[in-house]
Amino acid sequence: MLDSLREVMRYRSLLRDLVARDLKVRYKRSALGILWTMLNPLLLMVIFTIVFAHILRVTVEHFTVYFLSAFVLWNFFAQATSWSTGCLLGYAPLIKKIYVPKSIFVIATVLAGTVNLIISLVPLVIIMLCVGHPFSLAMAFLPVPILLATLFSLGLSLALAPLCVMFADTVQIYGVILTAWMYLTPIIYPLSALPDHYRRLILLNPMTHLVEAFRTPIYQGALPSSHVMITATVAAIGTLVIGWAIFDRYSDRIAYLV
């Protein structure tokens, strides 16, 4: 793993180019492009607020902020991992002709997602201002959960990417898993609303802790508990190490298969 990490570092100017290119393509080089990524969470927020705050009458104070502070992080995770499933095929012409460390394509895709996440903090802040939710100094802690979520997403993406090259329907299967996974993560409901035996199950989900670590500084204006931070860190680093090992194991086969 250290060898391949060092190799990626040698290609860091390619990494930067790939991230820039990924963002350019997504934003189609237009101001409206960036606006779209901001509109997307805003629109979803309106829908979810109407459904949960007004129709289902979920009684959480400032539900919009509660929901959105978890949803932008989830959205990053879902997008980064599902973009990564297709990224090796997208770069197939290059992979077949010139050697580059192949993990670089996955890393670039996830990092582009991270940049996207940081941009999507803007609509979040706007909404906090609109509903009059207080800002706290604890928000300065946000880079830590963002980093952990990036490492976790990267680990999962590295494990998924070779699988998607071998079997095209991994992309669809993963889409279904993601939908289920979202409802198994306390995003639209608070963990405390669950009966004990379900709560234990939901606590096994690493995204529960990552979402909590990200939401607490925004919504509660406090630092996440050390228990949450330890679990999130172990999950992120563990997933990254396993994902990297899986990718290293299969990366030689990729050029034969794309």
């Binding site: 100017s13 010139i98 050029a255």
Partner: protein, 254 residues
Amino acid sequence: MPASTLAIELRDVSVRYRVPRERIPTFKEFAIKWLRGSVVYHELDALAQVSVRIPRGASLGIIGRNGAGKTTLMKVIARVLRPTGGDVTVNGHVAPLLELGAGFDTELSGRENVFLNGAILGRSRREMQRRFERIVAFSELGDFIDAPVRTYSTGMVARLGFAIATDVEPDILLVDEVLSVGDIEFQRKCTERIESIMRRGTTLVLVSHSPESILQLCEHVVWLNEGRVVADGPARQVVDAFVSRSAPVAAAAS
């Protein structure tokens, strides 16, 4: 010969493609077929126990008919394919020209592609900035350097790709049949450029169907057929043997 003076050493290299008899594109189909035990592969040896040693600064030509394994051999040297058997040692920085325009993003301008391509070859932006003027001069693109690459002609893509790969001063240059696309003037210029970087010590591996360009640039030639080495020796001798073997076939075909 001690290993340190070798640029490239292949020992008993085999590349075996495991081709399913029918393509199994999805996990669903694979699961069904695997349960039935009906996943059948047939194996195809693109290279079978090929051993080649190329001293530093030497020039090797690879000849053979279509499907002989020439491109696969180049891909193994370029580390694009990890062989399924044998060992590969490559000492130095490789610039592969396996296909012109490989690694170009056609939506980006020529200028942006110079930096992208440099990055793909593991070169920093600053280094490419230093080389930029020379690359544009060699490619003769002029103002077209700021137009998107999709608007370029094949010859323009070829010139830019060749200019980048040879300007980065690789230790090893791999050229796979890319010289044939340009006009005669461009081919002459490329040949001169290759000769000049070889004088500085770059090792060359050239795949070509043209005996003339092989004889002009290579001291040594390997003749491949169906993934095996048929002959390995001085350029003139191997090329003559290959041409005389191919000639009756060509005559019979016409």
